[in-house]
Subunit: 474 residues, 2 copies
């Protein structure tokens, strides 16, 4: 910090003193004399040294803060921003989030945009029995208004399911929700105020981003690496912004398919604690794991109660149930209950009772095993077709779970162009731009294979190969 | 306006000229010299007359506008506010909305706080058949993800239902929602931004108010009269604020039970058009009408497409279905679809299909007639018990529909006190303060009789009489 005290201020100069000082510090930072996260001298010391009013120093520091060259932490002082200006993410505050493919109802198309398994795999017979049992047992009572948190016997069953993944909790922490998306929406209602900051993965799932943005939040994107968020950047950003929470998926992330390493999971929890923020972990696909490795949701490691865990049953059971669960820190129980009320009063008591019966009578494991096996078969089929038709021209990770591949196209081929061209060949893919907050052109496409026959997978990937070759020739 | 030109400004005075002018106009208004809605002289004329810069006049008018003593209408000028200052409603921007009674699970209490009919009245057998048929017909397909607007054959059935109440619309205007509360929540998501103003009835339903407030809206309460909102006040307020919409219930309003007269319905629509705003009409009870008078929802009169109509099926069918409908102006279709997606993706396709089957096979009328008859019987029972035990001491309207009475207590008896005392007697009532935005003490209680036996109604009202007499003695 020696350099700062060598700055010369000129009281005769037209430029205000605070501006002279700020400009000089700015130059020192840009020239690399003041390292990232180093502390600027205290206001009083500066005022004394330069023989100026302390307001001048405060104003200079404020100016630098607005320029995002420094950040301040209450009670500890002002520090040099760790990021070169051009790398500071500009929070995104608005985007029309749209679903892709819903308007594309091309007859007989090979549709790689759906993330469900075929409905022949849904446990319909077991649920039919469950519906009958519930109606015979409770008659109209099954359709009454009910406790906003959910049907207690169901919450007991859900605790048992959670325990099988190492998440230990009790009924009073479990909120029944009408699907994961509603969970995201309700948590946003409770935690977000206009102008708040939320961190999301880059790329991220548009449904969640849409819910955050609709509450007036500003989103900051943290780049994903192969094993989770870039933790260095995450900490840099945590110094600049105070997010209300960090939204992430620990397993088979949408859209990239990546899963977090144990190391990054621990680091993420550590950072959430250090910077006093929360994490929303959305989990749609953890049951679809195709390797022998144990599944450890972030929530299972969450000893400090920093994680709000949101689980969808749309993938492992069936979407039409519209049911899911959230595990909540005690602090927000009451607020979530109230938000649930103004959202939809409660989740259907009939469906809740049927799910309770289903879980109690059938358990999870057998059905989950079937779904997993089926998904795994499709995964292997997709990989083998990809190797055959597109592997030379594209890159993709091996998620070893879930129902999607995230495919990087050859340089120079935009995903939107590619997807339009594929659509002409009757194949629907999702372009990566759907998962980018500013909708910028992207070189990735998402290919979801869970709902297609082996033949369709084969033909679809063959056509991708054809189109790629054709575009590469140009 | 002669008086304004007699104002004397003193350029030697310390008080700025604009302030002198504003103060003088303020005095003229307060003293009644400038009638409500009269136009202030144009800026240029004023500047000329007083020999000052036009900025001075603009500043004076702005100052008066901030004080809400005048209002301006773009292109037409500045007008004297129609309201004495003390009567201008201060918008309410925050309240913890809570449900009452949910925490009161007193065993064997006589609970006058529920607005459902007994679940023995629910059409469970017909729905059991519907569930079976749907599952046999569509198997797992019944549980797939589906069109965000809703199952089209169901929307066709809903159009038919709407037509029976004079609402003519087509499938593309009908959005399926997971209950009326979700409809309110989604419309708020689409139409409200932080700081927007919404008009509500005074008193109003806390569930809706909670949804508006949670989006950062400010609420202005328009007093209810026996036949609907006070239309003079409504227009006065419309001159002062530009609400995004007006929230109301045309029939058996919650909590007062009042219904709008035809005259007020027409006036409301006229004002919405004149002041370019929308109306959200929530309809939970119009099927429960006990007189011969025809039911004409506001939406049935809505030739200018100013009304968003939200219908709950929780009362006429059963709450546990979590299903309802919204009729939307074309302008907001796309935005509602997107908001529905970020709210819960879609309403359960299984339940939608079952409801479609039910409506197609059973129609509405027979079941509605049964529900109406039942409600009407309870209504008459309640009135006769009220006449017997409390009519000398209290006042209440005769809603001739719905399942609640709104009872005014004798002067000097607060509703909170009364409800606590009743609770000791094992009777649960809802105090009027629940429906007031600022939670102020109120002299009303709401008594809902739909879910109680004749005996319980008799005993409950007898105890009310006892407690009233006891409190009046003090």
């Amino acid at each position: 910090m020696e350099e700062i005290f060598q700055i010369q201020l000129n009281k005769e100069n037209e430029t205000p003193l605070y501006q002279q000082l700020a400009d000089a510090i700015l130059t020192l930072i840009s020239d690399g004399y003041l390292p990232a996260n180093s502390k600027l001298p205290p206001i009083r010391k500066m005022a004394q040294h330069f023989g100026v009013n302390s307001v001048t120093i405060v104003t200079a520091y404020k100016y630098l803060e607005q320029k995002q060259m420094v950040y301040s932490r209450v009670g500890s002082g002002t520090f040099v921003s760790p990021l070169p200006v051009e790398h500071i993410p500009e929070p995104v505050a608005n985007r029309n989030i749209r679903t892709y493919g819903s308007e594309l109802s091309v007859e007989n198309a090979i549709n790689f945009s759906g993330t469900s398994l075929p409905h022949e795999m849904f446990p319909v017979d077991a649920f039919k029995k469950a519906f009958d049992e519930v109606l015979d047992r409770e008659k109209g009572g099954a359709f009454s208004y009910m406790d906003g948190m959910g049907y207690e016997p169901l919450r007991e069953q859900l605790c048992r399911y959670l325990e099988s993944y190492g998440i230990k909790t009790t009924v009073e922490n479990v909120q029944v929700i009408s699907g994961a998306q509603q969970g995201i929406d309700i948590i946003s209602k409770v935690m977000l105020h206009y102008g708040d900051v939320v961190f999301v993965e880059k790329p991220t799932f548009y449904g969640a981003a849409g819910a955050f943005l609709s509450r007036g939040a500003k989103l900051v994107e943290v780049p994903l690496e192969n094993d989770g968020m870039d933790m260095v950047k995450l900490e840099d950003y945590l110094k600049l912004y105070q997010p209300k929470f960090i939204y992430m998926m620990a397993y088979f992330q949408a859209p990239t398919g990546i899963s977090y390493s144990m190391e990054k999971k621990r680091k993420l929890l550590e950072l959430a604690e250090k910077y006093d923020t929360y994490i929303i972990e959305e989990d749609n696909f953890c049951d679809f794991h195709y390797s022998k490795e144990a599944i450890v949701p972030l929530k299972a490691l969450d000893y400090k109660n920093r994680v709000i865990y949101i689980k969808s049953f749309s993938k492992i059971l069936m979407p039409g149930l519209r049911i899911g669960l959230a595990v909540l820190p005690k602090k927000i129980h009451q607020a979530v209950m109230e938000a649930k009320y103004t959202t939809d009063i409660s989740t259907s008591g009939f469906i809740q009772r049927a799910l309770e019966y289903y879980l109690r009578e059938n358990g999870w494991e057998e059905h989950a095993e079937q779904m997993r096996k089926y998904g795994s078969g499709k995964y292997r089929k997709t990989l083998s077709a990809a190797r055959k038709y597109i592997s030379g021209m594209t890159k993709y990770g091996l998620p070893n779970g879930g129902v999607s591949l995230w495919i990087e196209l050859p340089e120079g081929i935009g995903a939107e162009t590619f997807c339009s061209r594929m659509l002409e060949k009757n194949v629907i893919l999702t372009p990566g731009s759907q998962y980018s907050l500013n909708g910028e052109e992207d070189s990735h496409v998402r290919l979801s294979f869970g709902n297609l026959s082996d033949d369709q997978i084969e033909v679809g990937l063959k056509r991708m190969g054809d189109v790629l070759r054709e575009l590469l020739k140009k």
